[in-house]
């Protein structure tokens, strides 16, 4: 299945813009946006295409960020291996939690994922290697493949760009594969999908694990960007944030989560001095998005131009 022309053009334009962006904007900010864009895209794969609302995606994001920070700092792994190890741990964690969570549906599913994420949070709070309240600080970025130093922000920026773009394209490919079609069928009508002979739970588990894996990849990368893994990454408000990004941008769209991540991260960055008002603004956006524009920004846009985005 080929990529529609307008999708390809948007991807190329995005990529070109991100190539020059660090010369205009602060690279660390851009890297943060990219990490969250990948996180939101991974989450959207589960919610927007699988119809499964996980309220505990911070578990994979945060745990991967701890593991990759630990791998880079204590084991001295190169950045690509550190990110890989974080991603793998998120995958295993996703398989463990997912296999239990898919036993419940709808809002119960959301509550179960949330509760498990809270368990992971307590683990992160108490486990000896996570540094408790302090987190893992001063994580070295190391040399890519043992050769190229990724210490300068500009250099690491392109590594992050490669990772997130690769991740987003992979998610795009999954959505538009036969597997993705079955997912949509399950989302639309689960009993009918069962009667068609699909092993619905296997598909649900698979998409859960894939989503957790990419969420972990985003978290692992973020740990190296900020050279820090901390409790905020694994706390349940982080799970809420990724829901917000997806909802605001447009769940079930390809580009919505990316835009949503950009808006929310920018908002947090520029309004950081307002303290708890950021929380209130996020709450208000949530309420407005649910009451007034459930399709999200990209969803509305797609309706205007009558093309799926």
């Amino acid at each position: 299945m080929g990529m529609p022309r307008h999708h390809m053009m948007i991807f190329i334009a995005l990529f070109a813009a991100m190539l020059v962006a660090p010369f205009v904007l602060y690279p660390v900010f851009l890297m943060k946006v990219m990490c969250f864009a990948l996180f939101a895209a991974a989450f959207n794969l589960l919610l927007g295409f699988g119809g499964l609302l996980s309220f505990g995606h911070a578990a994979y994001f945060g745990m991967a960020s701890y593991v990759s920070a630990h791998a880079a700092k204590v084991w001295g792994l190169t950045p690509e291996l550190a990110i890989l190890s974080g991603t793998l741990v998120a995958m295993v964690l996703g398989a463990a939690i997912g296999s239990l969570a898919i036993r419940r549906q709808g809002i119960y599913f959301a509550m179960v994922t949330l509760a498990f994420a809270q368990m992971v949070y307590f683990f992160a709070l108490q486990a000896p290697f996570t540094g408790g309240e302090d987190g893992i600080q001063a994580v070295p970025r190391g040399d890519l493949f043992g050769i190229l130093s990724t210490r300068p922000d500009r250099t690491f920026y392109y590594v992050v760009l490669a990772i997130t773009f690769g991740g987003v394209l992979a998610i795009y490919r999954i959505i538009h594969s036969p597997f993705g079609q079955v997912l949509k069928a399950i989302r639309e009508n689960e009993p009918r999908s069962i009667s068609l002979g699909y092993h619905v739970n296997r598909y649900k588990l698979a998409v859960f694990v894939i989503s957790a894996t990419f969420a972990g990849m985003a978290g692992a990368t973020k740990a190296l960007v900020f050279q820090l893994a901390s409790l905020t990454d694994v706390y349940w408000t982080m799970s809420g944030e990724v829901v917000l990004m997806t909802l605001l941008g447009g769940m079930g769209t390809v580009f919505g989560p990316l835009l949503g991540a950009g808006i929310i991260v920018a908002m947090q960055n520029y309004f950081a001095s307002f303290g708890a008002w950021v929380l209130i603004m996020q709450g208000i956006i949530f309420v407005l998005a649910v009451l007034l524009f459930r399709e999200g920004i990209i969803g509305v846009l797609a309706r205007w131009i009558k093309k799926p985005l």
Partner: protein, 295 residues
């Protein structure tokens, strides 16, 4: 003095008592969630924030208006419950025709707003609320000292829980409610104003959360985050108990409080996660929950 598995009885009974108190709150909050879920089919994510509001309004009534604890027990559920009715009329009622997850997301957003507002106004360090005179002091039971304030919470919570159970399961009003849960259209055809019943049910559920907040005020410090911590545990309690039965919410709530207290005695590090571990086991064995019906 006798010892139990090497644990001094004071410590054991002290933790069991604490567990029972926590359990009282789990029971009341999961009961409120169950009542709301039963008729509105919405997981009220704002429940924790409404519990926190209950504690704060209690404190405000005393500080700004000199209204004491006993009056707050009546006033606060009414005030916070009324705010719930406004929320239901203005927002939640617009979502009934949609997928459940929108109700969850809306109430989550509301929780963020409420918590943020209180955090801005009062910071995150807790404010103490002095227990009324009647609740000071306590009884010496020989094996342990039982403060009156704690005994009161347990008794009050039991009365509230059983009263709610009685109202829903044994009275005519409760019968209407249960009928409306099964088939709102049919019940409406009998001339019962179902939308109003739904609104009042939401107000009642919110009032329950607020009442729990009043009871919590003298025991825990009044803090904008107090609901946020608790609500996730309560969600786990709900998953374990299964949302089908009112009695299930009550029994699971108290039971898990006790289990948590016991864990604190024998393996303190595990006390924060024991409920989630139990949840995992229950999901493996009985996905619908201990008292739940499979849909």
């Amino acid at each position: 003095m006798f010892e139990l598995l090497g644990i001094p009885p004071q410590a054991l009974f002290g933790q069991l008592l604490l567990g029972l108190i926590n359990g009282s709150f789990y029971a009341m909050l999961s009961l409120g969630l169950a009542v709301i879920f039963g008729l509105l089919n919405i997981i009220n994510f704002t429940h924790g924030a409404q519990y926190m509001m209950g504690a704060f309004v209690t404190w405000m009534l005393l500080t700004y208006f000199g209204i004491n604890y006993w009056a707050a027990l009546i006033l606060v559920p009414l005030i916070v419950g009324a705010s719930g009715i406004v929320i239901e009329r203005l927002m939640i009622s617009r979502l009934y025709h949609l997928d459940h997850l929108y109700g969850l997301l809306l109430t989550f957003g509301l929780a963020l707003i409420i918590q943020g507002l209180f955090r801005n106004q009062y910071g995150v360090s807790g404010i103490p609320y002095a227990a009324p005179e009647l609740l000071q002091g306590g009884h010496n039971l020989g094996f342990m000292y039982l403060p009156n304030s704690r005994l009161w919470v347990i008794v009050a919570s039991l009365v509230v829980c059983l009263g709610t159970w009685f109202m829903i399961e044994k009275t005519k009003l409760g019968a209407y409610l249960r009928a409306a849960t099964e088939n709102p259209t049919l019940v409406g055809a009998f001339g019962i104003n179902v939308p109003r019943m739904i609104t009042l049910t939401y107000g009642f559920g919110v009032g329950l959360a607020a009442l729990a907040g009043v009871l919590a005020a003298p025991i825990y410090s009044v803090n904008p985050n107090m609901g946020e911590q608790l609500i996730i545990v309560v969600f786990a309690v709900v998953v374990i108990g299964g949302m089908g039965s009112i009695l299930g919410a009550i029994i699971t709530g108290f039971g898990l409080g006790l289990v948590e207290g016991l864990t604190r005695v024998f393996y303190p590090e595990g006390s924060a996660v024991v409920i989630f571990v139990i949840m995992a086991i229950v999901l493996l064995v009985k996905p619908a929950g201990l008292f739940g019906r499979t849909a």
